[in-house]
C-alpha cells in the first residue's frame, strides 16, 4: 500500500514539474549548414533544437491570441506580447505562464472609452514600464502608463515630413536609455524618426545608404537617352526603409533591412548614426547561395527582425525561408535554424525573435503561437569559445576550440579561433598553421611578420654568414671569369648579340637596334619565341601554386589548365595574329615571324618580374606588398616599352602609328573573342532548341 502511495505521489511530483517550454524532440526537419570560405553550404551540427509550439492554451489564455506581432522580454522575469488582433498586451512570466493582460487603454479625452490599436505592428517599454505602441493602421504612436492609461499620442510630424506625403505608418519602436523614442515608419525612408521623451520630433537617424553600384551608373546613362515618360516609369533610386531594429546593452542600435544590399542588411549604428559593425571576410548576411531560378522567381534573404543578446551574438530572422541566422559580433555565421512548414521547428509566419535564458523564441503571427528552440551542447561550446576570444581570455581557449572541432570537422571556424589563441600566446608558427587552415590571409600575414621578426632575431648570425659566403663566392667566380675573358662586360653583350638563344637579352637593353637587326639580318628564331611563351605559361602556373599564402587568392583545386593556357599562349597567339592582320591594313612592313619574335622577346621583363614576385611573396607580409607592386609595374612598363619600340622597328611606323596599331590590335583581339563567343552561344541555343523540340515531341 505504501508503495502504491509513493508511486502515486512521485507521479504527482513529476507531473507538477512539467514545464510547457520543453519536451523530447530530437527530430530536425531541415539540414543545418554553414558556409565555407568558398561560400558553399556545408553540413553542420544542429545549433538549436526545435522544441514545441506554445499556443494560447499552454500560456493559459481564455481569449486566444489573434495576430500577435511583437514581443519583449524585460531581461528579468516578464514577457510582453503585443496581441494586435485583440488590441491588448499579454503579460507572462519567462516560462510563458500567464500573469495578467492589459485589455483596455482608456483614452486621453474620455477615460471611459478604450483606445484600439488593431493592426499594430510593434511596441516598446521604457525603464518605468510605460508602453509605446506603434499603431500602424491609425498612423500614430500611443504612449500609455504601465497600467494602460493613455498618456500621450504622437501623430505625424508634418514639419519634418514636408518633402513627402507618405503616411506615418509606424511599425517598430525603440526607447534608448535617455528615453528618446525611435520609430520606423514603413513608407518613410529618411531613417528612423527620433522623438524627445516629450514626443517632439528631433531628427532622422541612420538612413540606409544608397548603393552606388554599376546599376545606378547604367541607369544614369540610360536616362540620357530616354524620353520623359520612360524616365517617369523608371524606379527611383532611394534608400530602403529598414525593417526592424534593436538596441544592445551598450546603447548601440542595430538595424536590419529586407534587401540583399550588403552594406545595409545589418548595421550597428553609433549615436551619430554611423555604421560600426566589424565585418569578417564576407560582408553578406543570410544565404550566400543562389537558387538558380529566373530572376523574378528567385527567393533572396529578407531580414525582418534582429535580436542582439547580452554577449553580442546577433540573431537575424529571415522571412524569405523562415530561418534564423546567428552571427558573432564580428559577423561570423555561428549557426542557422528554422524553416517554413508544419513540422516541429517550422514556422507559418514568423514575425519576432527574442532570447530567454539561452532559449530562442519565435513569435508566429498566423499560427498564433510561440516556437521555442533550445541550444545544443555544440552551440554552447561555440558561445563559450567565442566569448573567451572576444574578452581576450585565452585560458583554456584551445581546449574549447578543440571540443568544437571534435563535433564539427567540416568547419574552419575552430582553426580561426585556435590561430588567434596561438597568436596571442606568441606561438606564431602554430598560429600561421591554423590561419592557413582557416583561410585567413591577413591574420596569417600578421603572424608571419612576427614569426619572421623573431626568426631574424635568433638567426641573424647565420643569415649574415650565408650572405657573406654567397658574396665571396660571387666575387671569386667573377674575378676568375674576368681573368679568363678580358673585357667580359662588352664581350657578354656581344655574345648575346651573336647567339640566337641569348638574343632576347640583347633586345632587352638595345630594343631599337636589336629589332632592326632582327629584321635586317633575320636574327629572330621561332624556337626561341615559342620557348619564351611556354616559359610564360610555366611561370603563370608556378605563380598559381607557389605564390606565398598571404598573396595567393587561389586554391590549388581552382587551377584550370585550359584557362591558364588561354591566358598565356592564347593571348599571345591572338595578339600576334591580330597585329599581323592589322599590319596588312596599316601598311606595316613586319612579317609574321618578326611580329612573333618582337612580342615574345618583349615579354622577358614581365616574366622576370613575375618570377621575382613569386619568391618575394613567400618572404613579405601584406604591408610590404607594395614592393611586389613596384616589381610588377617595372616589368610591365619595360615590356610595354620594348613591345612599342619593337613593333615600331619591324613595321617601320611612326611612333603614333605604332601606338594606334597596338590599340587597333587589341580591338581586333576583342572582335575575335566576341565572334568566338557569338558562335558558341548560337550553337548552344541551337542545341537547346533541338532538345526542347525533342522534349515537346516526346511528351505531347
Amino acid at each position: 500500500m505504501k508503495k502504491i502511495l509513493i508511486t502515486f505521489f512521485t507521479v504527482i511530483v513529476i507531473m507538477g514539474m512539467v514545464i510547457p517550454v520543453s519536451a523530447v524532440e530530437s527530430f530536425v526537419p531541415y539540414k543545418t549548414y554553414e558556409y565555407n570560405t568558398q561560400e558553399e553550404s556545408v553540413t553542420a551540427p544542429v545549433g538549436y533544437l526545435p522544441q514545441n509550439r506554445i499556443y494560447s492554451d499552454d500560456i493559459g489564455l481564455t481569449l486566444s491570441l489573434n495576430n500577435p506581432t511583437d514581443m519583449i522580454f524585460d531581461g528579468k522575469d516578464t514577457v510582453y506580447i503585443l496581441d494586435s488582433g485583440n488590441s491588448r498586451i499579454v503579460i507572462t512570466d519567462k516560462d510563458l505562464h500567464y500573469k495578467t493582460s492589459i485589455d483596455s487603454f482608456p483614452s486621453l479625452s474620455d477615460r471611459t472609452v478604450s483606445e484600439k490599436f488593431t493592426g499594430a505592428r510593434g511596441f516598446a517599454i521604457d525603464s518605468e514600464g510605460n508602453f509605446y505602441i506603434a499603431d500602424t493602421d491609425k498612423n500614430r504612436i500611443i504612449i500609455t502608463s504601465p497600467s494602460g492609461e493613455v498618456e500621450r499620442i504622437i501623430t505625424r510630424p508634418n514639419n519634418a515630413l514636408q518633402s513627402t506625403d507618405s503616411p506615418f505608418d509606424v511599425t517598430k519602436i525603440l526607447i534608448d536609455k535617455k528615453g528618446r523614442i525611435y520609430a520606423i515608419a514603413q513608407s518613410i525612408n529618411l531613417g528612423a524618426m527620433v522623438f524627445t521623451p516629450d514626443g517632439e520630433f528631433s531628427n532622422f537617424f541612420g538612413s540606409n545608404e544608397i548603393s552606388t553600384t554599376s546599376d545606378i551608373i547604367i541607369n544614369f546613362i540610360k536616362r540620357k537617352f530616354m524620353t520623359k515618360k520612360q524616365i517617369a516609369g523608371m524606379q527611383k533610386v532611394t534608400p530602403v526603409t529598414f525593417s526592424n531594429f534593436c538596441i544592445d546593452d551598450d546603447g548601440f542600435i542595430y538595424t536590419v533591412t529586407g534587401t540583399t544590399d550588403e552594406k545595409n542588411m545589418v548595421r550597428c549604428l553609433n549615436f551619430a548614426g554611423k555604421n560600426i559593425l566589424k565585418n569578417s571576410s564576407s560582408n553578406a548576411f543570410g544565404d550566400l547561395e543562389w537558387d538558380r531560378k529566373l530572376s523574378e522567381e528567385s527567393v533572396k534573404t529578407s531580414l525582418q527582425d534582429i535580436f542582439v543578446d547580452s554577449s553580442g551574438f546577433i540573431n537575424l530572422l529571415d522571412s524569405a525561408r523562415g530561418r534564423i541566422f546567428q552571427y558573432s559580433s564580428d559577423g561570423r555565421l555561428l549557426t542557422e535554424f528554422g524553416l517554413y512548414g508544419e513540422q516541429v521547428g517550422c514556422f507559418n509566419s514568423p514575425c519576432a525573435i527574442m532570447e530567454i535564458d539561452e532559449k530562442i523564441l519565435v513569435l508566429d503571427s498566423v499560427e498564433n503561437c510561440i516556437h521555442t528552440f533550445a541550444p545544443t551542447e555544440y552551440i554552447r561550446d561555440i558561445h563559450t569559445a567565442v566569448s573567451k576570444l572576444r574578452d581576450y581570455k585565452f585560458e583554456g581557449s584551445l581546449e574549447s576550440w578543440e571540443k568544437i572541432l571534435h563535433k564539427n570537422t567540416n568547419s574552419t571556424f575552430p582553426y580561426y579561433g585556435m590561430g588567434l589563441t596561438y597568436d596571442a600566446k606568441g606561438d606564431y608558427a602554430s598560429a600561421m598553421k591554423y590561419f592557413k587552415l582557416a583561410d585567413e590571409h591577413e591574420l596569417y600575414s600578421n603572424s608571419f611578420a612576427q614569426y619572421r621578426k623573431s626568426f631574424l632575431q635568433t638567426h641573424y648570425l647565420q643569415i649574415i654568414g650565408v650572405i657573406l659566403l654567397i658574396a665571396t663566392a660571387v666575387i671569386i667566380t667573377t674575378s676568375i671569369y674576368r681573368k679568363k675573358h678580358k673585357d667580359s662586360a662588352f664581350k657578354g653583350m656581344q655574345r648575346c648579340e651573336s647567339s640566337s638563344w641569348l638574343y632576347p637579352f640583347y633586345t632587352l637593353f638595345h630594343p631599337v637596334d636589336g629589332f632592326e637587326q632582327l629584321k635586317e639580318k633575320n636574327k629572330g628564331s621561332y624556337s626561341v619565341a615559342v620557348s619564351i611563351v611556354l616559359i610564360w605559361f610555366l611561370i603563370e602556373t608556378l605563380s598559381f601554386f607557389r605564390t606565398g599564402f598571404i598573396f595567393n587568392v587561389y586554391r590549388a583545386s581552382d587551377y584550370n589548365f585550359i584557362v591558364s593556357l588561354f591566358q598565356t599562349v592564347g593571348v599571345f597567339v591572338l595578339f600576334t595574329v591580330s597585329n599581323w592582320a592589322i599590319s596588312t591594313l596599316f601598311d606595316g612592313k613586319g612579317r609574321l615571324k618578326e611580329i612573333v619574335c618582337v612580342v615574345a622577346y618583349s615579354l622577358v621583363p614581365l616574366l622576370v618580374a613575375k618570377a621575382i614576385n613569386v619568391v618575394l611573396s613567400n618572404v613579405l607580409s601584406v604591408n610590404e606588398g607594395a614592393f611586389m607592386n613596384i616589381v610588377s609595374i617595372l616589368g610591365i612598363v619595360w615590356t610595354a616599352l620594348i613591345l612599342l619600340l619593337g613593333l615600331y622597328s619591324v613595321h617601320q611606323y611612326s611612333v603614333s602609328g605604332t601606338v594606334i596599331s597596338i590599340a587597333v590590335s587589341v580591338v581586333g583581339m576583342i572582335i575575335i573573342i566576341f565572334l568566338g563567343i557569338l558562335f558558341y552561344t548560337l550553337i548552344q541555343q541551337l542545341l537547346d532548341f533541338i532538345a526542347s523540340l525533342g522534349d515537346e515531341l516526346a511528351l505531347r
Partner: protein, 749 residues
C-alpha cells in the same frame, strides 16, 4: 536473503490481489452502462438498427445493412462496436465541405478527367455516400462470412467491388482490383478504403496511431488543422521522379499499419497486400472536421508532374502525366484489440504476432554489440595540372579497422559489430554497382581483409561488408530507372540553404528492378570467397520505387517483391544480414537493423511520438539508434537508445575527415575515431550491463510519466526510466538526475 524474497513475494501478491479486486469492482459497477450502450442483452448481441448479422465467430460478430453495405463489427470481449461509418454523422455540425459526406462513406475515389491529364495538379474526389448510396447504386451480396459491396459511381462511371469478410481474429477488407471498372472520361487514381472506420466523434476520447518514423499518436480532437491532410505513402515517396527542390525532411512510414485507440478497445489496421502502392491518411477533429480517423488508401495510378522549359520565362509550364493502371491485390486487415488508453504496446504485440505467424518473423537472438560504421575509401577529386581526376582517399584501411575494433572491444569489454562501407572498388559509396566483391588494394587488399575478418571472429566481435544493390553513379543507361516522362530518375543532393539540386555533384541513379536479382547474385557469388563475415545491404530493405522505362515497367509492389526475393536468396547463403531503417517486408531477414527510426516527422498534427518500431522488433532483431556523433544532441540520442533498449552506432574514420568538408561526404563530420572513442567507451561502460540484460527482451510497456520522463517495461521485468529534462526528478525513493536514467527490477545489478 531468502526470507526477504518471500516477504517481497507476499507483498507483491497482496498488491496484485488488491488491484485485481479493484478491477473487478470497477467492472461490476460499470457493466450495466456497458450493456445499455452496446445492445448487449443476456449475452447476445442485437445488431444495429436494421442490420443483418452476416458473420459470427467466438470473438466478433459482423452485421451489415444489405442495402447500403454499411456494417458494424462487434467485439464480444469488450462489447465495443466498430462502425464502418460513424452512426451519428448525420447530426454532425462541425464538419464542413467534402469531409461532411466523406466521413459517411465507405469509399472515397480520387480521379482525373482524361482531358485534364497533361495539366492536372490535384485529383478530384467522389465518395460512396453521395455517389452510390444516395442514388441507390450499391450492390450488396452475401458471401461466406461476409459481404461483397460493389460501389457504382454513376457520374464518373467507376465500379469498385470490395469484399468484407470476418476471419478468426480480424475483419478482412479486400478491394477486388481485377474487377474494377473505370469510366470512359476519367482515370481512377486512388481509393480511400473505409476512411472513417471506427472514427471518434468530437466528444470521444482516444487517439489515432500513424507509423510515421518510429510512430506517432494524434489525440482525438486536438484542433490542429494542417494545410494538407496527412496522407503519406507507405515506404516513402516514389523515387522514380525528378524532384527539382527539396526543403523539409521527413521520416518515412516503414510499417504498413495504423490504428484507432480508445480506452478499452483499439482497432489496428494492417495493410497485408498492396502496401507499396498505398498511403496512410488521417482526418482529425478541428474547426472544420468533427471526426478522427485513420485509414489506408490504394493508389492504382500515379500522377507525376514536371516543369518544362524551366529557363524560359515565356514557355515555362508544368505538365503532368498519369501512369498505366497498376493492378495489385489490396487487402487490409482490421484487428480489434482489447487495450488501455494510449496503449501502443498491445498494438505492437498484435502486429508482431501477425509477422510471426504469417510472415515468419523469428527471434534472432543476435548478440548485443556496439555498432561501428567503418568508412573505407571515398572518391575525391584530385587535380593534376588543373585537370581534375578521381582519386581514392583512404579513411580507414583494413589494418586501421582492426585497430578500431580491438581498441573498442578491449576497453568496453563488449562485443563490437563493424559495418565496412566503401571497402571494395565498385561499391565505394555507390559509385558503381557492386558486381564483384574484391577489396580495394589501397586499403590493404584481400590478404589484410581476411586478416581483419579472422581477428574480428577470434575476439568475438562481428563484421559485415556493405553492398548497395540499388544505387549507382556511373554505369550503363540500360540499368537506370526512368520516370513516367522517360527521363532518367536522378537522385541529386540538394543544397541545404536554397533547396535546389546540387549540380556540382553527380547524381545517383536507381537500378532497374529487373536487374536487381542479377546484380545480387553476382555479388553473392564473389562474396563467397569470404567466410565468417556478414553482409550489409543498407538500401535493399528500405528503398521502394517504380520503373516506367518502356518494356521494363515495374510497379513499386513488383520492385518490393524482387527485393524480398533477393533478400531471401542472400539469407540462404549468409547467416548474418545487417540492414538499415528497414521496411516491414525486409525486417524478417535482418539480424540487425541500424539507424532504426527513433522519432516521427514532428508534424504539428502529432501529439506525441511512440517507439512503435522498437516495440515491434526489439527483442527479435537487434536495433540501433541513428549515428551518435551526427545526431542533434548526443546525450538525448543515448537516452533514446536506453529507453528502447537499442544499441549505439558510431561512424568511424581512422584518418582525419576534415578534407571532406564541402564534398558529398561531409555528412560524416566528426567521425574521426580518436575524437569520439572516449565518449563511446564511457557510454558503453555505463550501458553494457543493462543492454546485455534487455537486448533480447520485448518491450511490454511504454508510458510517459511527464513530458520529459518516460518509463519502458521489458518482458523480463526490468524497467528503465529515462529523464530527458534538464532538472532532476524524484521517482519512488530514488533521485533521477537530469539527462540520466534509472533501472528498476534488474536483479543482476
Amino acid at each position: 536473503m531468502r526470507g526477504e524474497k518471500v516477504l517481497k513475494k507476499k507483498k507483491t501478491y497482496r498488491i496484485f490481489s488488491l488491484v485485481f479486486l479493484l478491477i473487478i469492482a470497477v467492472s461490476v459497477l460499470e457493466n450495466p452502462i456497458y450493456a445499455q450502450n452496446n445492445n448487449l442483452e443476456n449475452g447476445s448481441y442485437i445488431p444495429y438498427d436494421g442490420y443483418k448479422t452476416v458473420a459470427d465467430n467466438k470473438l466478433f460478430s459482423l452485421s451489415a445493412d444489405m442495402e447500403t453495405g454499411l456494417f458494424t463489427l462487434y467485439q464480444k470481449e469488450t462489447g465495443k462496436s466498430w462502425h464502418s461509418t460513424p452512426i451519428d454523422a448525420e447530426n454532425d455540425k462541425i464538419s464542413k465541405g467534402p469531409v461532411k459526406t466523406n466521413v459517411r462513406s465507405q469509399i472515397v475515389a480520387e480521379y482525373i478527367y482524361r482531358s485534364d491529364e497533361s495539366h492536372a495538379e490535384t485529383t478530384q474526389s467522389a465518395n460512396s455516400r453521395s455517389e452510390c448510396i444516395n442514388s441507390g447504386s450499391v450492390k450488396v451480396e452475401q458471401v461466406t462470412n461476409g459481404i461483397r459491396v460493389t460501389y457504382c459511381f454513376e457520374t464518373v462511371g467507376f465500379e469498385i467491388p470490395v469484399v468484407y469478410t470476418l476471419e478468426s481474429d480480424y475483419l478482412k477488407a479486400e478491394i477486388e482490383t481485377e474487377k474494377i471498372k473505370e469510366g470512359k472520361d476519367s482515370y481512377l487514381m486512388a481509393i480511400n478504403l473505409l476512411p472513417a472506420f471506427g472514427a471518434g466523434n468530437s466528444e470521444d476520447d482516444g487517439s489515432l496511431f500513424v507509423p510515421d518514423g518510429c510512430g506517432a499518436l494524434i489525440h482525438f480532437n486536438n484542433g490542429v488543422s494542417m494545410k494538407q491532410q496527412y496522407d503519406e505513402y507507405v515506404y516513402g515517396d516514389d523515387l522514380a521522379q525528378n524532384v527539382d527542390e527539396k526543403s523539409n525532411l521527413t521520416e518515412t512510414i516503414r510499417l504498413p499499419v495504423f490504428a484507432t485507440i480508445t480506452s478499452g478497445s483499439s482497432l489496428l489496421g494492417v495493410i497485408t497486400e498492396g502496401a507499396a502502392l498505398s498511403s496512410i491518411s488521417v482526418i482529425n477533429g478541428n474547426g472544420s472536421c468533427g471526426y478522427n480517423a485513420v485509414s489506408a488508401k490504394l493508389h492504382i495510378r500515379q500522377l507525376n508532374t514536371r516543369v518544362m522549359f524551366a529557363n524560359n520565362a515565356k514557355n515555362k509550364r508544368a505538365i503532368s502525366r498519369v501512369s498505366a493502371i497498376q493492378k495489385t491485390s489490396f487487402v487490409v486487415r482490421y484487428y480489434p484489440i482489447k487495450s488501455d488508453e494510449n496503449d501502443v504496446c498491445s498494438l505492437a504485440n498484435c502486429y508482431r504476432s501477425y509477422l510471426e505467424n504469417e510472415k515468419g518473423l523469428k527471434k534472432k537472438n543476435t548478440m548485443p554489440a556496439l555498432n561501428v560504421d567503418l568508412y573505407g575509401s571515398v572518391d575525391t577529386v584530385g587535380h593534376f595540372l588543373g585537370i581534375p581526376y578521381t582519386k581514392k582517399s583512404v579513411l580507414t584501411s583494413f589494418d586501421q579497422a582492426r585497430n578500431i575494433i580491438e581498441v573498442l572491444s578491449d576497453s568496453t569489454e563488449f562485443s563490437v559489430s563493424g559495418r565496412y562501407i566503401g571497402w571494395n572498388n565498385s561499391g565505394v559509396l555507390n559509385n558503381k554497382l557492386p558486381k564483384n566483391a574484391s577489396p580495394l588494394s589501397s586499403l590493404g587488399g584481400k590478404k589484410k581483409l581476411k586478416k581483419l575478418i579472422n581477428q574480428v571472429k577470434r575476439q568475438g566481435n562481428s563484421l559485415s561488408l556493405e553492398g548497395d544493390m540499388l544505387y549507382f553513379r556511373s554505369g550503363k543507361n540500360s540499368n537506370s530507372v526512368k520516370t513516367i516522362f522517360g527521363q532518367f530518375a536522378l537522385q541529386y543532393d540538394y543544397l541545404p540553404s536554397v533547396f535546389v539540386t546540387n549540380q556540382n555533384r553527380t547524381p545517383l541513379r536507381l537500378l532497374t528492378p529487373g536487374k536487381i536479382s542479377e546484380i545480387t547474385n553476382r555479388f553473392l557469388k564473389s562474396f563467397s570467397q569470404f567466410t565468417d563475415v556478414g553482409i550489409s545491404l543498407s538500401t535493399l530493405g528500405n528503398t521502394c520505387y517504380s520503373e516506367y522505362a518502356d518494356g521494363r515497367e515495374k510497379t513499386r509492389e513488383n520492385q518490393m517483391q524482387i527485393c524480398v526475393e533477393a533478400l531471401g536468396k542472400v539469407s540462404k547463403e549468409i547467416n548474418s544480414i545487417t540492414l538499415e531503417a528497414t521496411n516491414d517486408y525486409a525486417a524478417l531477414y535482418a539480424d540487425r537493423i541500424l539507424n532504426a527510426p527513433v522519432t516521427s516527422s514532428g508534424y504539428a498534427l502529432f501529439d506525441e511520438d511512440v517507439p512503435f518500431y522498437q516495440m515491434v522488433f526489439h527483442g527479435y532483431i537487434a536495433l540501433s539508434v541513428p549515428a551518435m556523433i551526427q545526431s542533434a544532441e548526443i546525450n538525448d540520442n543515448f537516452l533514446m537508445a536506453v529507453s528502447t533498449g537499442s544499441e549505439l552506432l558510431y561512424t568511424a574514420s581512422y584518418n582525419s575527415v576534415a578534407f571532406l568538408s564541402g564534398t558529398r561526404y561531409d555528412g560524416i563530420y566528426g567521425s574521426e575515431f580518436s575524437m569520439w572513442s572516449q565518449d563511446a567507451i564511457d557510454k558503453m561502460q555505463k550501458y553494457s550491463g543493462l543492454l546485455k540484460n534487455i537486448s533480447n527482451e520485448t518491450i511490454i510497456g511504454y508510458t510517459s510519466l511527464s513530458n520529459e520522463v518516460f518509463k519502458t517495461d521489458f518482458e523480463n521485468g526490468v524497467s528503465v526510466i529515462v529523464n530527458y529534462g534538464n532538472s532532476e526528478v524524484k521517482f519512488k525513493e530514488s533521485i533521477l538526475p537530469a539527462k540520466d536514467y534509472l533501472i528498476i527490477g534488474d536483479d543482476k545489478k
